[in-house]
Symmetry: C2
Subunit: 462 residues, 2 copies
């Protein structure tokens, strides 16, 4: 399938500590060890024999999240040092790069983050939740890695079959240019950004009131901003704004718009431009973004109107943050970065709703064969048989009882959806066969013991 | 391969939140969502529509770890509540079962745990590290799930090819019986256990001194214990102790020994008894064990002598803990459990040493194809081609530059071990072909564009 191998190919360096988990404990361990080896090998070759110091709990989260900082969980350790739980995976990633002098890396990471927010279980909002991050760090030509991030969001959301979605894109430089052109002073820019970011939850009137009342903008500036932030479209809108007399004098806006044009060209080559909307109301609250920003939302087509499903909020988001790594580096050396965060629980809550609506039953195990016995005193025979199946890589289970009733064993198959039962009793043992039962059809066939593995594999494949 | 599917088959219920990660971010998300769905589905069917409250940070770790409690990281949250980082995955698992009234489950979990210990990087000892836990909870007939846990340790350590290993087994009830038979009062049993557990790091003299000096045992009791804890062997030793007059009067010891005999029978059926050593010096420090305990160590065969590699300590361990879930349940309802913990970093440090010694080079990416261009102004062609490869599931990369030099692109393949380069330039575009280069042999062949995917797949398979 698409994307399967390609995404992995994107991870080109350390830390790959969380990259390649497979679906089974043994293999997850084999793979985890492999990844750590790879990380270490690369740290040693590319970065020299530098000391790799792990001081993860002492996170420096302050001043990275703007207004969202209030959501950080603060803790105090025994030595009296201030400790916090990580708010996202981006800031720890940037700190990792700076600490290890890594200037070139591509990796993904799935892990928990913590926010002191109001949990809403039904919408997949928790205080402790998983994020999946993908980031590309390093000096690159404009918008090439940025376009790849959008391609990945597109690929993931398509694969998950969540329904129709839209990826809104904007650029912090364009926003800055718009705000400056509307007469917002530099000092109020970040605050104004945070307010614009609330446009999908609040009406324009409320946003304007907050801008004027709380953030100290003039009503004229706010109205002018209102004209811009309602704009959204494609390459045509980019072209239109490139001609806009107010923006054309603004250096930042010009850069942002020219890069946006480039981005659209690349997204066209990637064949995903139909899901992209250049949206001037997209601001994203976090302080650390410096260039392109994006957010994926699910949409519903209703009577020719496209409606955003605001219930769950965005399911993925990210952008370019060229200054963050430098903030952790003693020499302030910058490492340009661009990345994506996927919200696992939000996606889960959507998929869960869909499954509920479809009344589909979901199997809770992957067991392929139940090893069963029809008579008492066949525990040894069951243990021997299950061991053979396990050693052959077949997912097998048996009831943890010395003498379970056959009916109980067969009911267990039906309840948990196990497709096959391998039954061994007195007669089977005597005949050197195993009775293979198709749980759905209830058909039973005696299979010679030496042909059992082959027959089970054949049935599982068909 | 063996164990691949079988281990997954063992996971039969919630929480499977960490069960089925695959190797790619997209699929990891698809799978994570799937697992959460399964968990939720099962919680809803089996356990009714109970409210599932997440209060993970408020762990109750006190009184679970005996002397090791001093290693717990303590934190204080903003509200003044006492908080700690989890010390292992067993106690949180038990709490989860109790909170959700789960009486039957099999699952694995790979996650970080925290210990306020002295880190030794070279030996894979960290304050923050991964554990992989596998547990079977529920009412079962004696030693059936216990034997399965040992089978899993055997399978994992064999698959990792760490070299020769030994799984020491003992039983808390046998130890209790031995201590009682040696005249140790009930009140000093746990303390004496902790001291015996240090036998692989300390000489018997030092252990004895600690027993007598610190733990208040009589020298006679300590000497008698010394006679027992030096014993190790197989089924023969179990039989011998079953005849031991001192132990035969002790109810607990009798139960433990009869179960140990059963365990050996099952392990023989599983074909792993040659790696098992019934070792009376194995005590394991943690308070919560109630029955069989085990620990896997790596061994070296030197001049007919088997030596334990004490440098890394044990690589896996576990046992039966029938009382832990009940401690979290308001009605003290017990759920018998048995489980295994695998130490990822310790295993990694061993594999790393082996790889270093072998001077084997480890690839740090899985990229199969680099999309390259020999001339300037072929960024669009590269983007289009890489998008096709990605969509077809091929792991492809390209340099994030508009006009990289061909030599630089080919060097990148050689440095990172990418086996194939797909080169597209003026001539190739004109001819409707892509030049496919075998990086190792430097052979290049023009492949018609419509046959490219097929040819790449063919080459990657061979």
């Amino acid at each position: 399938m698409s994307g399967l191998r390609r995404a992995a190919a994107r991870a080109w360096g350390p830390p790959r500590a969380l990259r390649a988990f497979s679906a089974r404990p043994r293999d997850r361990i084999v793979e985890t060890v492999g990844k750590l080896l790879q990380t270490k090998a690369q740290l040693e070759t590319e970065e020299g024999k530098k000391n790799f110091i792990l001081k993860t709990p002492k996170e420096t989260l302050t001043g990275k999240y703007g207004e969202d900082s209030k959501l950080i969980y603060d803790l105090k350790d025994q030595g009296g040092e201030l400790l916090s739980l990580r708010y996202d995976l981006t800031v720890p990633f940037a700190r990792y790069l700076a600490m290890n002098k890594i200037t070139n890396i591509k990796r993904y990471h799935i892990a928990k983050v913590y926010r002191r927010d109001n949990p809403v279980m039904t919408r997949g909002r928790y205080r402790e939740f998983y994020q999946c991050d993908f980031d590309i760090a390093g000096q690159c030509d404009p918008m090439i890695p940025d376009a790849e991030c959008l391609k990945i969001i597109h690929e993931i959301l398509s694969a998950l079959q969540l329904g129709n979605f839209l990826i809104k894109v904007n650029d912090r430089r364009i926003l800055s240019g718009v705000f400056a052109a509307c007469g917002v002073p530099e000092s109020k820019l970040q605050a104004a950004c945070s307010t614009v970011d609330k446009l999908n939850k609040m009406t324009w009137e409320d946003v304007k009131n907050e801008m004027v009342g709380e953030k100290g903008l003039t009503p004229e500036a706010a109205d002018l901003i209102g004209e811009y932030v309602k704009l959204h479209g494609g390459l045509d809108l980019v072209e239109q704004l490139l001609q806009d007399p107010r923006l054309s004098h603004n250096k930042l806006a010009g850069e942002g718009l020219r890069d946006m044009k480039l981005l659209f060209e690349y997204l066209m080559l990637f064949g995903i431009v139909d899901k992209i909307s250049f949206d001037l109301s997209l601001a994203r609250g976090l302080n650390y973004y410096t260039g392109v920003i994006y957010e994926a939302v699910l949409i519903q087509q209703q009577n020719d109107r496209v409606e955003e499903l605001v219930d769950v909020g965005s399911v993925a988001g990210g952008g370019r943050y060229d200054g963050l790594v430098g903030m952790f580096d003693s020499k302030r050396q910058k490492v340009p970065c661009v990345g994506v965060s996927i919200g696992i629980e939000r996606i889960f809550s959507i998929v869960n709703c869909k499954v509920k609506a479809s009344k589909e039953k979901i199997r809770t195990t992957e067991t392929q064969v139940l090893v069963a016995a029809p008579q008492k005193h066949f525990l040894a025979a069951r243990l021997k048989l299950i061991s053979e199946l396990w050693d052959a890589g077949i997912k097998a289970e048996m009831l943890y009882r010395e003498n379970p009733k056959l009916l109980k064993q067969l009911h267990y198959c039906e309840d948990t959806g196990i497709p096959l039962a391998a039954i061994i009793g007195e007669q089977e043992l005597k005949d050197g066969v195993v009775k293979l039962r198709d749980v759905a059809t209830r058909q039973e066939v005696d299979i010679p013991r030496q042909k059992l593995l082959e027959e089970i594999r054949r049935r599982l494949e068909s």
